[in-house]
Amino acid sequence: MATSIVDATSSASMDSIENLTELDEIKKALEQLGKQEVIFGYSLIAQFSHTGFKSSQNFKFSEHVEQELKALLEHQDTLESKMNGLHKMLPNLQILETDSRQLTSMISFTSTLAENVSGKVRKLDLAKSRVVECSQRVEDILDLKFCTDGVQIALQNEDYEKAAGHVHRFRNLDETVIRISAETNEVPGGTLDTSFKQLYESEEKLKNIVHSKFDAAVHCQDVASVERFFKIFPLLAMHNEGITKFGKYLAAQISEKADNNLKLALHTPENDKRAAVLFADTITLLFEGIARVVEIHQPLVETYYGPGRLFGMLQILQKECDRQARKVIEEFKSQRKYDALVGDLTPSFFSITCINPRELDVILSEIALISARAELYMRFMRRRALGDVELAIQEVENRKSTVAEVEKFWNGCELSRLVQELINVYIMMEEYFMREMILKAVSMDSSEEGQQTSSMVDDTFFIVKKSVRRAISSSNIDGVCAMINHACTVLEQDFREVLYSRLRAGFPSGFDLQHAYNIVQASITQGKLQSSDAEKVKARANFLMSLNNAEVTCDYCKALKDNLEDEVSKLFTQCSEQSKAKLESCLGDLGTVSGRFKDVVDFGFSQLTTSAIKPRIKPVADAFLSTSHNITEEDFSNYEANDPWVQNSIVTLDNMLSTFKNSLTSANYEAFVSLVTTEVTAQLEKAVGKTTFNRLGGLQFDKELRGLVGYLSSVTTWTIRDKFARLTQMATILNLERVSEIMDYWGQNSGPLTWRLTPTEVRQTLTLRIDFRGEDIKRLKL
């Protein structure tokens, strides 16, 4: 406000001052100005003080601003240098802009140019392809003309291959395309049209001719012509007709040959070498004939018809094969009185005796042979068909359905059904045969002097092996499995029962075997034998023989399994994984049969233990009991000279073992000795527990025991010391000088010795020494 006043006055005065001319006036004005200045100064001061107050209030704020300003100012340098740089670049930018503008114009120019050029090329291309098409069409039309003329001439000359060639060529032309050009350029009914008409007519004519000529050739048995016209069919796009006709022709040939073969077979004299396998031979001839036909004609079909056509022809041939095979098998059945046999077989397996196993044997072999041949033949046909399918269809995925069709066809064909029916009966017959023959072997069981086993074991396994091997020879996997199953049943059930029942009769006791043998020997020399004794001797020999039979059967089962495994593995090359697994599973069952005979052996030994071993060992133990082991020095030296117990015992044992040794197989003898040893130790242990000892008696017992162990070790191949461990430890205890001495052997001091006696048993043994005090024994810390 003050300033505005000052301004107003000053501005007014200033104007006037400039206009002043008189000195006085100037002085006045100066004075005035001075005054004004003073006033102005005052107001300024006042004003200043006012604002000063206010700024102190805003002091903090301004400090902050100042800081920010400072920070900004710090950037000033960099900003400036950047600005300088930008300034320098400015002219370059301008150059760039002009350059790029030039470039765009150049590019757009080039692109239009290129478009122009490529358009022309495209047009050229189109023109060229049209020219090609055109020339193709012209060629086609020329071809057509050529074909039309050619067909006529060829037909006139009876050159059917050429005619068919022309038709084939014409067939490959694109008729619609030619007709389009005809429509545009020609009036209907022009030359093209007539050409087509003529060609179609010729084709029809040719087809008829080929058909009739082929039939005529077949009729005249003119092989060359048959093949000639067979090759023409595919040219006329009549693949299926060709295959069918040719297949029928081949089938007729097969049929004729097969009829002759069958007639020949039926007129074969009965004493002919091959009479027993006559029908197998006949059917083999049939299969071989067909295989030969396939072998010869497959290349022909493949060359002229291409891959994928063979299956059709094989199907036709198989139909004929089915018909012929049925004839042969029917003849086989009637000539071999097959149905009568089957009828006899079915009601019950055991009661019939009217079937002669020898007769069966012959028929079984023939069926196995027929089956084997049929399997081989069908494998051949399948392989051929599948090989052709593989050639025709490259992708495995697409092939699947056709492959399944091929498999289905041969699985379902009549031949395979016929063979399945034969195998069905074969298994029944073979099982019957096996059973009957084993029954016979069992009933005719015999043994020769000095033999440990009887004839039936060898015979039985020979029969089982024969039957299963024959089944294997049939190549029918299911048949093999079934026969292996039956073999298991017959062995595990019937044969096992035979052995079992013989052992169940038991080992007659109460009669010394050695004695019995002496009697037999005596009676043989004297020529008479008391019947009851003789029976017992015989029963014992039979028992031991059955025991041996059972033991040998265990091994035979394993051997049979290994043997059959070898034989079966020959089939593996021709069967699927699934069939392999089946065979292996059935063979595995045969392996477990062996274990079932082990039970029989164990049962036999348990019988033997009660009736032969126990009674014989008891006197030995009793003799020990009756020998005093509380002896004087004099007795001890006396014993040295006249052994009171052990020598006799060894003689008794030796007698007993040697009587059994020759009658038992080595494995059974080992088992026998083991059982005897177990029994001796058990009974002797008991006897020792009832005896009293003094120091010398203990020493005597130790000696005796050593003698016994020494003897038993000498008669076996394995170590028996283990069985005597408890007794030996008892001897050690009975041999001690003092009670406390036991601690040298017990606990930490036992060293390599493993105690088989419990602490209580040790104490009990110690009490057997009459010279040991009970308190000492009680005080022991075991």
């Binding site: 399945q420 069905n424 299911d478 079934a482 059930q493 079932r596």
Partner: protein, 201 residues
């Protein structure tokens, strides 16, 4: 090598076309094979299941129903631990053949065999000819266990084989607990059929 504790043989029998192969396929492979061809001879599949912590291997023998495979089929009866006799609930004829099959079982199978009667194809309800109660009564008469199944719809198929596995396992364990009878039962082998008493030593 043997990664299982028990192995059981299960044999399926019954007329041709009642769906034995389909039942086995449904159980072992998990699908129903449409347009299944007739089985030739015998087929077999393996399925391992776990029963209370023990691996149990089921060896399933699928037999051909057609007459001309009969003697092959019969050879498998004796070693079977379980038999499944299948008929088709839509086929009176397959039901009428049952007595014949029962006769076969009595003739060839072991006395201890676990047998099931199974009526298959219950999915075709409108074509059904054999009511459930008729099948059940038949099964009761011959002391067989009974189930109706559909291999197509997977009805009761799992249940059938599972209960067989369970029962056979229980049987085997029971025998293990009574060792004096162990020799009459061979694990992984066959059920012996010797007349009772002959094996008691």
């Amino acid at each position: 090598m043997e990664d299982y504790k028990y192995l059981f043989k299960v044999v399926l029998i019954g007329n041709a076309g009642v769906g034995k192969t389909c039942l086995v396929s449904r159980y072992t492979k998990g699908f129903f094979p449409p347009g299944q061809m007739a089985t030739i001879g015998v087929d077999f599949m393996i399925k391992t299941v776990e029963i209370d912590g023990d691996k149990v291997k089921l060896q399933i023998w699928d037999t051909a129903g057609q007459e001309r495979f009969r003697s092959i089929t019969q050879s498998y009866y004796r070693s079977a631990n379980a038999l499944i006799l299948v008929y088709d609930v839509c086929s009176q004829q397959s039901y009428e053949s049952l007595p014949h099959w029962i006769h076969e079982i009595e003739l060839y199978a072991g006395t201890k065999v676990l047998s099931y009667l199974v009526g298959n194809k219950i999915d075709q309800a409108d074509k059904r000819e054999i009511p459930t109660h008729v099948g059940r009564e038949f099964a009761e008469r011959y002391e067989m266990r009974f189930l109706e199944t559909s291999a197509k719809e997977a009805d009761n198929v799992e249940k059938l084989f599972c209960s067989i596995a369970h029962q056979l396992t229980a049987q085997a364990r029971d025998l293990e607990l009574r060792p004096e009878q162990q020799n009459t039962f061979v694990t992984g082998g066959s059920t012996p059929i010797s007349p009772p008493g002959c094996c008691k030593f």
